[in-house]
Each structure stands twice: as structure tokens, then as C-alpha cells.
């Protein structure tokens, strides 16, 4: 079909956590511009299986930008050349015939490679388990309007809650810092009356866990905000710094 393209892919292959990986070069032919990046990988993997070779391991689930699984560092950027999208929302029309595309896993001490492009992001889960929740004994659901929340706060909390835990912020950051993720998770609760009760201990515990996991320190390059598929704002990082300083001082 006209408009279809032939591409060269340089993909990171790594058998397991322990072994050192290396790049393998593959070529794919007749790729439709309407395919998603992951569909192009499906084509490549079918091809590899047919050739009796080891297919490339990569994470994916929803393929509609909501689960945050599809971690691929494409040509030097998490989730590829577009802003505000995940890899599954990236289409091959963003590339052109003859392109060489380099695909790497997220690189961070706190995200060890499981195999090829799949990384272990359970460090994020442990940060959440450390304090990213509201402990209440649930009873009947109350009328939503009985707790008054200013519209601005509700909007900010909602925007912070849009974080899908994909880890692109860590992948993009030159310091491998997880501040955007953790600050979004702190903010979505700290802004609301139900979350304020435990705000102090929450921020202390989540930051302590973040440091224990081996993420780097934020130097405010704001690469995270630029690469976040959900456009999470660095205002959240300032809010978390504020909460953290206040918690330590009180």
C-alpha cells in the first residue's frame, strides 16, 4: 500500500535482571502509518516467532493510554516524539520510511529490567503502600455534596489523580527522580478534606520510601512535566516540597 514504510529498529535485548543486555537490529517492512507503535511491535514479534527467534518482551495492557504499562524509551524520549501520549497512543505516522528507531527500556536503578523492554515498577507500588491512601472505616456512602470543596482544589486534585503511574517522569529525568509521580499521589489526597487528616505522615512516609527505593534527587529541569502523558504539573512537586518541609518542621 502506498504510504507504508520500511523501518530499522534497534531494540534493547536483555535476557534477565542479572545478565548484561545489548542492542539487536531488526527490520520491519510495509508498516501502515495508521498502526500504533505497539502494533508495529506485534508485527515484528510475529515475524520473529515465524523465524524461530525470541520475540521482544514489552509491557502493555489497555492500549488506550490509561494503564501506564507501555514503557518504551524511543529515540531518546519516553513514549516517543509526541507530548501528552503513551506509547500505545503513538502512531506510526509520526515516523517516516527509512527511519532508524532506537528503543530502550526505562533506565533507573529503581526500575530493574525484567526482560528486554519490560521493567519492574513495583517500587512505585511500595511508595503507594507507604502512605498513598486514606485510612477510613467505610460506612454508607455519604451524599457527595455534604462536604464542601472549592472548585479549584477539586480540579487540582483531579488533575493530580490523572497520573497513571507509568514512570515516564523517572525515565525522562536526568536524575531518575520520581518526584512528579510521588507529588501527584501526595497532592491528589492532600488537597481534599478526607486526605488532609493524614497529610503529614503521608508525605513523610512516601518520600522516605521514594528515597529508600534509590530514585534520584529533583533539580527542577522539568523534563518530567514535558514528557508526562497525563500532563501532570510540576506545581505538584512544589506542593509536596511545601508539605514535606511543613511536616518536618511541625
Amino acid at each position: 500500500m502506498s504510504g507504508n514504510m520500511n523501518l530499522t529498529l534497534k531494540v534493547w535485548k536483555q535476557r534477565n535482571k542479572e545478565e548484561r543486555g545489548k542492542f539487536e537490529t531488526y527490520s520491519v517492512k510495509d508498516i501502515s502509518p495508521d498502526m500504533s507503535f505497539l502494533e508495529m511491535f506485534d508485527v515484528l514479534n510475529e515475524q520473529l516467532i515465524a523465524e524461530g527467534k525470541d520475540p521482544i518482551a514489552f509491557d502493555h495492557d489497555c492500549r488506550e493510554g490509561i494503564c501506564g504499562m507501555c514503557s518504551m524509551y524511543i529515540n531518546g524520549r519516553p513514549h516517543g516524539p509526541l507530548q501528552g501520549v503513551t506509547t500505545c497512543q503513538l502512531h506510526m505516522r509520526s515516523f517516516k520510511d527509512g527511519d532508524i528507531i532506537v528503543v530502550e527500556p526505562w533506565r533507573s536503578a529503581a526500575f530493574p529490567v525484567i526482560k528486554d523492554l519490560a521493567v519492574d515498577r513495583s517500587s512505585f507500588d511500595r511508595i503507594m503502600a507507604a502512605g498513598g491512601f486514606v485510612s477510613v472505616n467505610t460506612g454508607n456512602a455519604r451524599d457527595a455534596n455534604s462536604i464542601l470543596i472549592p472548585k479549584d482544589d477539586a480540579d487540582d486534585a483531579f488533575n493530580a489523580a490523572a497520573c497513571i503511574g507509568c514512570g515516564a517522569c523517572v525515565a525522562a529525568c536526568k536524575n531518575s527522580s520520581a518526584m512528579l509521580f510521588v507529588s501527584a499521589k501526595v497532592s491528589q489526597l492532600a488537597l481534599l478534606p478526607q486526605g488532609k487528616v493524614e497529610a503529614k505522615t503521608r508525605v513523610e512516609k512516601m518520600v522516605a520510601q521514594m528515597d529508600a527505593e534509590g530514585f534520584g534527587n529533583c533539580t527542577n529541569t522539568y523534563a518530567c512535566e514535558a514528557e508526562c502523558p497525563k500532563n501532570i504539573s510540576v506545581e505538584n512537586i512544589a506542593r509536596m516540597n511545601r508539605e514535606f518541609i511543613a511536616a518536618k518542621l511541625s
Binding site: 534497534k10 542492542f23 524509551y73 529515540n75 531518546g76 524520549r77 516524539p81 532506537v102 530502550e104 533506565r107 533507573s108 536503578a109 529503581a110 525522562a172 536526568k174 536524575n175 531518575s176 527522580s177 534509590g214 530514585f215 534520584g216 534527587n217 529533583c218 533539580t219 527542577n220 529541569t221 522539568y222 523534563a223 514535558a226 514528557e227 510540576v234 506545581e235 512537586i237 512544589a238 506542593r239 509536596m240 516540597n241 511545601r242 508539605e243 514535606f244 518541609i245
Partner: protein
Amino acid sequence: MGITGIFLITFLIVHCGVNALIFFNDGGILFTKAAHFMGTNWLIRTMEIVLFAGIIWHIVQALVLTLQNQKARPVQYAVVNGTANSKWYSRWMGLLGTLILIFLILHLNHFWVDSRITGIDHPPIIIEGHEYDNLYAEMKDVFENPIVVIIYVLAMFSLAYHLLHGFQSAFQSLGLNHKKYTSLIKAVGFWFSIIVPFVFALMPIAMYLGFVK
């Protein structure tokens, strides 16, 4: 980093303000008096010690952060497109800071060592019957050398870019981000980062070209 950074910024205001007195072009009278005050007032002398401690603390923090951050990414990316998501000077703060440090050593050697330790090799300047250390003559001496002038001007570019990132970054690190005030902080930071290094850079240029006598 934020607190030491803001402290160093306040130092720059004072330092730049005092030195800019040479632009009164009065043969250095105002400047000499101000420098004398700065060199003899006990509060300022105490702050000088705090300043050196601040610089060292800022550098120690930078080193610790950089080492931790390198450990956080043991395997590097083969391809990084940093320009797509951040300003180059936000990624090169360590290098810019190191250039400032090299300049600082040269600069302290030019003025601070002479005025505080070895003594100035110019006869004192006499204003209204009082004798003052002639730092002004020392300044004119130092800035006779075009190489020195060029180094000072280049160093001010490093400072400008370091501040361009550092000023707003310090406020963000301290959690001072606000829907109304952040744009103001960023604007003040931007103009501060341009004006202060520019005024500093004008000093050697003006002396070398003889605009300030």
C-alpha cells in the same frame, strides 16, 4: 541547594551594588568608602565567613546530589534527546557551577587575597584627610590585561545561565510555587539573571576601555 542558592543570590546583590559605585566615575571615591566599610564593619566581616561557608555548603550539596543521581541510573541510555524536554542550562548546572568556581578562585586571588591577607601594593588613597586601601587602583591594574577581561566576561555568562535556572529552581525546591506569584518569581529571576551578570561584566570592560578612570 535552594537555601544556600538564595543566600548566594543575596550576596550577589550586595557585591554588585557596591562595585557598581565605580560607575559614578569619581576616581573611585564612593567605591573606596563603601569597600572600606565592607572591609571593617564587624557584621559584614562575620557575614564574609558565613558566605564562604555558604559557598562550600552549596558545593558539597551539589556533589552529594550529583553522586546520588548518578547512582540512580547505573545503565545510561544510548540515545537521549534532552533538548526535547528541558533547557540545556538546567541539565548543565554542575558544569556551569564548576566554571563559576574556577572563576571564583581566580577572582579571590585578584582582590580578596591582596586586600585581606598580603596587602595591596599600591599606596593608600587619601580622601578628606583619611587614608583608605586603594582597591580601586588594584582593580584598574587587574583589568589592564585583556585576557583577564575576557575571562571575567565569559565567567559572567556562566553565572547568568546558572542563575537563569537556579533562581526559579530555588523557589520551586522550597515549595514556593503559587498560581499568582510563580510567574512573578520567574520574571524577577529572569531579569536578575541578566542584569546582575551584565553589570558585573561591564566593570572590567569599562575599566579596560578607559570609560571609568
